[in-house]
């Protein structure tokens, strides 16, 4: 009985019952709060911080010099270049698509709108490996367009276009998903005001809409970029792992690891991790400034 009591009380707290009432239940809500924080911190430490530390520890195992030397490898450099190029191409395309989709969904009523919203979420739900496979089935030698592509000497699979397509597929939801609720919430009034004041479409977009959604857009871009640089599954299927040509950073890490070149593998991993950490830091910064700006 005594053991069950705190559970019942905790449930009441969760239901917002006791938490809103001062007095006898405050010690309980404090306990619950402490419990929740401790659980999440323990979880984070085990699953996030430990691996992060390991990555850097392994990368610097043989000293800083060996760490730097790993980056001198031309294949590694090619992988870094490929990753950056992919992100540089994919992210702007995602911005255009995300803006168009969010605009269409937030501002217009049309047939198949809910279908479009569901489809935008699809890449988040589908396993990345399957995302890659789809492109192999479409553009591979035995795929639907395979023969035609070969005849015209265009290589998609096991080449840069395939990597970009696969990356684009897994990253396009981020900008749109960030913008749709924002644009729906902000409504049309400012745009309509601009139009009645004589502004045209482009002017309304650049002077009114874009400044209004800039933080949401930036946030979407950051998430999209992080995923574009770090994607393994989908890219792995379409890349063909040709060293120095079609390996991105995540693929290069795998190759080096499989060759027992732990320092090399973890050095690239640490760079990727750094990119991720920097991205997330920028995101946090954006969030803070953005919310203050709103």
């Amino acid at each position: 009985m005594a053991g069950r009591l705190p559970v019942a009380a905790a449930l009441a707290v969760l239901q917002g019952d006791a938490a809103t009432r001062p007095g006898q239940n405050t010690w309980l809500s404090a306990l619950v709060r402490w419990l929740f924080i401790a659980t999440s911190l323990a979880f984070l430490a085990a699953l996030l911080i430990a691996p992060l530390v390991t990555v850097f520890a392994m990368a610097l195992e043989r000293g800083f010099e060996a760490y730097l030397v790993s980056f001198a490898d031309p294949d590694t450099q090619a992988a870094i270049r490929l990753t950056l190029i992919t992100a540089a191409v994919v992210v702007p395309i995602n911005i255009v698509f995300g803006l168009a989709a969010a605009w269409a969904i937030a501002k217009f009523e049309f047939r198949g709108k809910s279908m479009l919203i569901t489809l935008i979420d699809l890449p988040l739900a589908v396993s990345p490996v399957i995302s890659g496979m789809v492109f192999v089935l479409l553009f591979g030698l035995h795929g639907w367009f395979g023969v035609w592509l070969q005849r015209h000497d265009i290589s998609v699979i096991f080449a840069l276009p395939g990597i970009m397509l696969a990356t684009m597929f897994v990253t396009f939801p981020y900008v749109a998903r960030e913008l749709i609720p924002l644009m729906q919430q902000l409504g049309n009034d400012e745009e309509e005001a601009a139009i009645t004041l004589g502004a045209g479409g482009w002017m309304t977009f650049f002077k009114v809409t874009l400044p209004k959604i800039r933080w949401g857009l930036l946030y979407g871009v950051i998430l999209s970029n992080a995923r574009a640089m770090g994607e393994f599954g989908a890219v792995s299927v379409v890349s063909g792992h040709i060293r120095g040509l079609t390996t991105t950073m995540p693929l290069q890490i795998e190759i080096l690891y499989n060759e027992y070149n732990f320092v090399g593998a973890f050095a690239v991993a640490s760079l990727l991790t750094l990119l991720a950490v920097v991205t997330l830091e920028v995101k946090t910064l954006v969030e803070r400034t953005g919310y203050r700006g709103r």
Binding site: E190, E192, T196, G198, K207, V208, K212
Partner: protein, 548 residues
Amino acid sequence: MSITLDQVTKHYGGVPVVNDVSLDIGDGEFFVLLGPSGSGKSTLLRAIAGLTGVDYGRISLHGRDVTEVAARKRGVGLVFQNYALFRHMTVADNIEFALRVRHMRASHRRERRRELLRLVALEGMDDRLPAQLSGGQQQRVAVARALAHKPEVLLLDEPFGALDAKIREELRRTIREVQRELGITTVLVTHDQEEAFAMADRLGIMNLGRLLEAGVPHELYSRPATRFVATFLGAANLFLARNGAEGIHVGAATIASHEHSPQPREHEVVAVVRPEEVVVAATPAELGSRFVAQGVVDEMVFAGALERLRLRLEDGSAAPLLATADAAATPYLEVTRTQPEQRAFELHPGQSVAIGVRRVHVLPTPLSSFTACAASSAAAETLARQPLLAELAARMKTRIGIRPEPQLGASAAGPEESAPFVGATVISCEPQAAQRAEWLLRHGANEVLVLPAQATVPQRVLIHWMDEAVRPATLAVSESVLRHVPAEAEYVGTLSREVAQELARRLSEAPGQMLIVGVSDLARFAERFSPLLDGGRWPVLVVHRAPS
């Protein structure tokens, strides 16, 4: 004319939200569109601004047809309920936006901005962001911004909706002053009648997408033409009165109203009595105005300057107040009394009083009430619960009477009761409905509504008159019906010989249609109309006026 609307119609998903609105607004006029939410007033305003296209009709601004002109080229200023200021721009940038669009020189822009800020009493606020201003200040900026490019027309969409009472009043005065100073034609949309009265040169009242009446506030208040306007503009008690040779009979009183033209044949009318026109006293002799009925004080509410009373009428049959469609509900009378009136005769709940009226206004509406008529009273009561009839009566704020007529439809016998048929008489769509309708029309009923059991509120109303003599009456009845249903009206022109067959064909073309048909000649009525009425599938309202 500054703004001319001609039969403007706009549908959303098949439902007309703005339905056949025609209106002229003069130069420099302050016009207020008043209506409950969902009445289409904001849509109409957006249509004038060009933000919403219209499905039918024309819109002209200063004689220029702008129906097809883009919003940005119409040269109107629009103020939104939630300000819609550009949140990332300063007050100065907001106001100068329209001038930047027009590539005006910076020095000229600055000058115009100063002028506008002075106009809305916000000098020195240039560098603030909208978020740093109060709601009232933001709306002032929005007004200044909308006026920057010197539009010919200023449109205000519930501009005070989000503000509290004190600031609302202040801003109201500012806007009125700015409007007078600039002499700009202004349309304001609101659902607040006090606001409408305070600001309007002229007032238009909308409901269910239709513009019901337009006029000077005082005129609309004292002489409304429709039930909706009477009850929406201020409070109103609606009575079912009888208009006869000596005057209007309201309860026990006979009032020779100056607006009333003596009628040879007594008929039922709807009379409006404003709460402030009701007098109460201890006895009929002390009233000082005409005695209508006895009543009991049911509720008293102190409301500052005024006292609000709710009186229960005793002897309900003698004073048939228009209650809800629910005939069983007690009819209440709303009364307001000023402080001097209260001091002269103090009241307490439960007290019995004599009720008199100072002033009665008769509505020109042709449909006063409904009477469900059937062979037995049980059948008539069933008919009174028919969904379309109940809905119509509720929307018209009128009652449904019950009248059993065992001889209904029998050619030889007359009505059981000697009382005349008042209002619209309703019968069901049984076999021989045409014969019953003819019987009712021959025995004095002016309007007969034949109702199928499942009929619901129509989406479209077909209107046809058999000859010119009944045209005015048919149109008046149609207008009255259409004020209460959000339906499209369609006039059916000259038809071939087989009028009834032709109309039946038109009615069967689409679901949810109703027919209003005017007849003056009753010869062979049952025979001619049996295809339309007997066991029919459509609600049909027959309007009959004998040729004079």
